[in-house]
């Protein structure tokens, strides 16, 4: 005999339509206009940063770089909702969130320029560096959350991963343990519809990525990731709940990767320009700007000041980046262990000698 034993529903949240008009009445505790202005500024800065970084790469002044073009509202949205003493674990496309957390433009440029010092954040000391191996960071987030819970602290952890990442066991193992241990973690799945050349539809038959949470028995929500209001709001609710002991939450943020996967990629090999054009209508930046114009008296002057300010800040960072001296060669040994084992002393000396005789290592170029 058949009997129903469990039921589930996945909801979608959005406040603004693509033009920035309200879809209905906002909840009373929607993000303050000050917060949203701050968010807008971060989104603008992020987009400028992305453009500049791609340009640095194209001109041989930086390494491979993943732009977050079009996804700014996702990362700025959840990071606005974070407290300073929360922890953030990025994937690799969350430049906006990192800026919001206090990772400097210079640090980010150094990182993508191939310098380990870019991960020695002077601001958020406990935030994790980027995670290149997909989805592995989800597990670190649960470990951090376990430590927070053990110490009885009221902090939360935010970890990001992509739509592609949800296919990897790490992601699932992380949401599962977060559920059963009731850990204060917010998982943000940035569904930008592509994992390099693999479309979202080829990653999973699941109609939504939010429903992955059901496998872990945790709550989730699909959010319009191009709507800063919705992202900030959903994240803030989830984080407040998590800090209060209410357990983990998963947000599927619907957005679109407007650019190539990275500067090493050519998206035209695998997707139509048409699809991309369509998504320009959803651009999160004009959308939230329209909202600010309508509801916060955002003026042309405000805009001009913001743009100038951001550009100046960025150019200063680029200047500092290009002027940064390389690390000493022995740095590759000096942070390997707290105390370098005697066994490696010879090698450490060897690299110092090598650098002095052959500073450019020219024969591999």
């Amino acid at each position: 005999m058949r009997t129903a034993v469990a039921q589930f529903e996945i909801e979608h949240l959005g406040f603004l339509d693509p033009a920035g008009d309200l879809l209905g009445e906002l909840p009373a505790d929607i993000g303050s206009l000050e917060q949203i202005k701050r968010g807008y500024r971060l989104m603008v800065l992020t987009r400028l940063f992305d453009t500049r970084a791609v340009n640095l790469q194209r001109t041989g002044q930086m390494g491979t770089f993943p732009s977050s073009l079009g996804q700014e509202a996702v990362t700025v949205g959840f990071s606005l909702a974070m407290q300073d003493d929360d922890r953030f674990l990025p994937s690799y496309r969350e430049h906006g969130a990192q800026l919001c957390r206090g990772v400097t433009l210079l640090e980010q440029l150094l990182y993508w320029g191939g310098d380990e010092r870019g991960s020695d954040f002077q601001g958020p000391r406990k935030d994790f560096p980027l995670s290149v191996p997909i989805a592995t960071q989800c597990l670190h987030a649960t470990g951090i959350a376990t430590a927070i819970k053990l110490r009885g602290e009221q902090q939360a952890v935010v970890v990001c991963c992509g739509d592609g990442a949800t296919s990897k066991g790490d992601f699932y193992e992380a949401i599962n343990v977060a559920g059963v241990w009731n850990l204060p973690v917010l998982f943000v799945v940035t569904n930008n519809h592509w994992a390099i050349s693999v479309p979202r539809s080829a990653q999973s038959k699941a109609e939504t990525l939010a429903q992955k949470a059901i496998a872990a028995g945790i709550d989730s929500l699909q959010v319009d990731g191009n709507d800063l209001l919705a992202m900030e709001y959903a994240s803030r609710q989830a984080l407040e709940r998590a800090r209060a002991g209410g357990g983990p939450f998963l947000i599927e943020a619907l957005t679109y990767r407007m650019g190539d996967h990275t500067t090493a990629d050519d998206a035209r090999r695998y997707r139509d320009d048409e699809e991309v054009s369509k998504y320009w209508q959803q651009d999160p930046i004009p959308r939230i700007k329209a909202y600010l114009v309508a509801h916060a008296g955002w003026s042309k002057d405000d805009e001009e000041a913001l743009q100038n300010d951001c550009k100046q800040q960025l150019e200063q960072a680029v200047k500092d980046y290009l002027a940064t001296e390389p690390q000493p060669p022995e740095a590759m040994f000096d942070y390997l262990y707290a105390n370098l084992p005697e066994a490696y002393a010879t090698q450490r000396q060897q690299v110092i000698d090598k650098a002095s005789t052959n500073p450019n290592g020219a024969d591999h170029e």
Binding site: E116, L139, G143, L150, D170, N176, V177, Y335, Y337, A338
Partner: protein, 326 residues
């Protein structure tokens, strides 16, 4: 101090570490009420509660990832992998994160975790329960690999591994978990990492081993002594990084060396030691350095595993062959 087996010594070290430092937490499969399938964590959840002795869901990759997150937050997690044959899903986290976190953040974050696992063959266990793949971990920068060979050493080295500010893979030779009881001073003092221990002094030949094979190596030394051959026995203990200084000094003295390990020969740690000796002691060598090892095969199932393990007579034969080399 009463006599203890190796597994009891592991348990005691965990107890003392947890008493001493409340940042020490344990996690793994069945480490709680069950006290671990070998009883390494027996009684500890009862004493310290489920917050500090955590039964995890069944996923080794997750266990390692959890431990990394905890360690980065300043806890000192000691994670148990139930058998080394199940450690491989955790390998990505160890090589890609645990061994790198300090380096890639230029010291901002670090990873003071211990990953314990019983390893080795010889207990007639099912498939996948007889692995000796310590060499895989010895090839991972930023990670230490430590292997005790006796109860006292297990106690002291495990304390050291837990105290160490960097990740340590701590492999316990399960074949000798209960082989002997040893009296040792459980004085809460760590024993040094990164050094070999000379278990027996000798003049004619150096025998180098670690883990359970130290037992057969010691027995071989005894038999050799009866034949008038004086063997020095070195327990490598920290198999990564290797303290070549102690080994080279010994071989410089004896001029002869046999290396004994249970792991497959190719890609084994014996090759590293032999290569190091060849590089630094060539002119001292009176005979080739020979390795007595497991074969380059899957460890056979129970009915044939005794044929896989390096036996005392193989070590004796290799030593005599080395002595007679011209």
């Amino acid at each position: 101090m009463s006599e203890q087996t190796l597994i009891e010594a592991v348990n005691l070290a965990l107890l003392h570490a947890m008493e001493q430092d409340e940042e020490v937490v344990l996690l793994g499969e069945d480490v709680g009420a069950n006290g671990g399938v070998f009883r390494a964590t027996d009684g500890l959840q009862q004493q310290f509660g489920p917050d500090r002795v955590m039964d995890t869901p069944l996923a080794e990759n997750m266990i390692a990832g959890l431990a990394i997150g905890m360690a980065a937050e300043g806890l000192k997690p000691v994670a148990e992998i139930q058998f080394m044959g199940f450690i491989y899903p955790a390998l990505d986290q160890i090589i890609s994160h645990a061994g790198r976190l300090r380096n890639r953040t230029r010291g901002r974050l670090s990873c003071p975790m211990v990953l314990r696992a019983p390893f080795g063959a010889g207990i007639h266990a099912p498939e996948h329960h007889s692995e000796s793949t310590e060499a895989l971990f010895a090839h991972m920068p930023g990670v230490r690999v430590v292997i005790p060979s006796s109860p006292g050493r297990a106690y002291g080295l495990l304390l050291a591994a837990i105290a160490d500010p960097d990740p340590v893979v701590f492999l316990e030779p399960k074949r000798i978990y209960r082989l002997v009881k040893e009296e040792f001073d459980a004085n809460r003092e760590p024993q040094p990492l990164d050094v070999c221990f000379t278990l027996r002094s000798g003049e004619d030949i150096t025998l180098v081993s670690w883990g359970a094979s130290v037992v057969e190596t010691g027995e071989a030394a005894t038999q050799l002594a009866k034949q008038g051959i004086s063997a020095e026995v070195i327990d490598v203990a920290t198999v990564s990084p290797i303290d070549m200084t102690t080994i080279l000094e010994s071989v410089a003295k004896t001029g002869r060396c046999v290396i004994i390990h249970e792991a497959a020969r190719s890609g084994g740690i014996g090759a590293d030691i032999a290569a190091g000796i060849g590089e630094h002691c060539l002119l001292d060598l009176l005979a080739p350095v020979i390795r007595v090892t497991g074969y380059d095969t899957i460890v056979p199932m129970a009915r044939m595993e005794h044929l896989y393990l390096p036996a005392v007579d193989q070590i004796v034969t290799a030593a005599i062959q080395t002595m007679e080399f011209e």
